[in-house]
Symmetry: C2
């Protein structure tokens, strides 16, 4: 049905190899022939058959992208941007969702490998430490996207969470908070997490400001709305005097905020709450959540580009990039001293 390289060759009166060559830059073929062949190919609507290519080279032009939660718009944007870059480079993207479940994640990884992906972008989650060594030992280029856990030493394109932590503390202090808390995913003690960097940024900024920081100020929660909601009770129990909270992501902050509302606490004046991600929803006046915006577009773009480059170069990926975040102040951290 579709034109093959053979049809083009026949029509152009050259060999199949010549046609193949005509589509490679810098190949030993005369410019004249190249143009002619390309022209004929275009006429015939010739598109190289991916399956045949894949068979020949041993693997298809496919990238794997593992995200945690497809219903979180943040990951949706990752998928969008990665696909855009991949498409431009002629790659397909195999999207997979871990749902924060180690078993599922490992299974998905296997599936991707069986599909012979040529490279992997992975958004690690804190709940799946098993994945780290597996990814490290993969023989295709892999790149951590958005965040990565402590033990991971590999290439990455992530948000500078330490900077985010600092930014948040500075902001919260500036609006008059004095007892800060951090609500993040991962378990106490073995905070196996890129959130450790968030925490260290957080602690460091507190230290610089001359404020104490003990472990009760760090609450373990999860990534979702529910978990944020539950974290509020924990916060009350563990650090009741808190007047400013930074949550690991916006979803979690929404939950916390709901719980605070319910408890009759004035979010902003009594308890400042902020998140990380700056989801579109955070700008809704009713939520109006102060958040830290990650440069998601660049993030995904850089990562995808870098990954594809290493694939083409046949080398291990070596990018290590931390992108600076930006604070978006809204009323969930309304200054205590300001007049409403």
């Amino acid at each position: 049905m579709n034109a093959t390289i053979r049809d083009v060759a026949r029509r152009a009166g050259v060999s199949e190899t010549t046609v193949s060559l005509a589509f490679k830059e810098r190949s030993r073929i005369s410019e004249k022939t190249r143009q002619r062949v390309r022209h004929i190919a275009a006429e015939l609507d010739y598109v190289p058959n991916e399956a045949a290519r894949a068979l020949r080279r041993g693997s298809p032009r496919t990238l794997g992208l593992m995200v945690n939660d497809l219903t979180n718009p943040f990951y949706g944007r990752m998928v969008r941007e990665v696909e855009a870059v991949a498409m431009a480079e002629g790659y397909q993207v195999l999207v997979s969702e871990s749902q924060f479940d180690p078993t599922r994640e490992l299974g998905n990884l296997d599936r991707m490998l069986q599909a012979r992906i040529r490279g992997l972008l992975i958004c690690f989650s804190e709940t799946t430490p098993e994945t780290v060594p597996r990814v490290r030992d993969m023989r295709i280029p892999c790149l951590a996207l958005d965040t990565f856990p402590e033990g991971y030493e590999g290439p990455h394109v992530v948000n500078d969470l330490a900077a985010a932590g600092r930014l948040a503390v500075e902001h919260l202090l500036a609006v008059g908070c004095r007892r800060l808390a951090l609500v993040i995913a991962g378990s106490v003690g073995a905070r196996f997490s890129s959130f450790a960097r968030l925490e260290s940024g957080f602690r460091e900024a507190l230290r610089v400001a001359g404020l104490p920081c003990d472990s009760r100020q760090v609450i373990s929660a999860g990534w979702g709305i529910e978990e944020g909601y539950a974290a509020f009770a924990e916060l009350r129990r563990q650090a009741p005097e808190t007047d400013g909270v930074l949550c690991g992501n916006d979803l979690c902050a929404f939950g916390l905020l709901s719980a605070a509302d319910e408890a009759g606490i004035a979010v902003g004046p009594e308890l400042a709450i902020m998140g990380i991600d700056d989801l579109p929803f955070s700008a809704l006046p009713r939520l109006n959540l102060t958040s830290i915006r990650q440069p998601d577009r660049e993030l995904a773009e850089c990562a995808a580009q870098a990954l594809i480059e290493s694939i083409e170069a046949g080398e291990r990926c070596s990018v290590k990039l931390s992108l600076a975040p930006r604070l978006i102040a809204r009323s969930s951290t309304l200054a205590k001293t300001s007049v409403l």
Copy 2:
């Protein structure tokens, strides 16, 4: 690197074809041999090479899934469910996003066809009428998911939007509203849209209730938060006496709700607002949006299953399914008569 059918054949002392046959049910091969071959294959971690299969059969085991907006959690869930079914059946999913842009959508469709997808699930949008004939004329099984436009006559698995319209009207009337409006995507006059069914359900229920319904009660908007926000002004202009609104989706409702808040209108008592989708965000106490929950899981599952079945059967898909929605009442349509 990976074991091939040849390795298995050699090890089992049979021909390659026998190995191939051993993996097909109902093939003319003795049960004994089948078991032995399968066992050896498992031992060698043999996984059939997709690229080779794809080359042989002319197309890979790949499904196309076109959604409108990856940052809308609703579509995220579609992707999730479709992938789950596809994976179980040994198919890959090629996800594509139209972003409500006809050019992009047609381009994506082309790309998918070039990737030789074997079937297509498409969430039509109102803004891309060009796609309808293109999809109709595709020679692979296609299935409309979630919704489909007026001109489309093909197979589909959708939400029963007429029922949603009725449900909404009944609910709004029950909580005491008397002047209803509908905010939906598409342009007046040529409401090229499955929303026409929503509208007809809406109108019908009004008629049954003995209430008038003129065209000013139907506002054209878009799908996003921004568009919902803008629609509020339009609503005030076009139908200022409105006391109950149904929005085409939750995102749009969030925008409308924000604008109403801003205008100092009490959402609920003064103006009831409801959406369709029941996103997780809608349950946030601060938003607390009454919504119509679509059975998204079944939707995606049925669709994916049906599509794969037609692919395997080599027939055109013929499923036409409308799934009943369910109303989730929250305070954005709080009864006027109730005490807050």
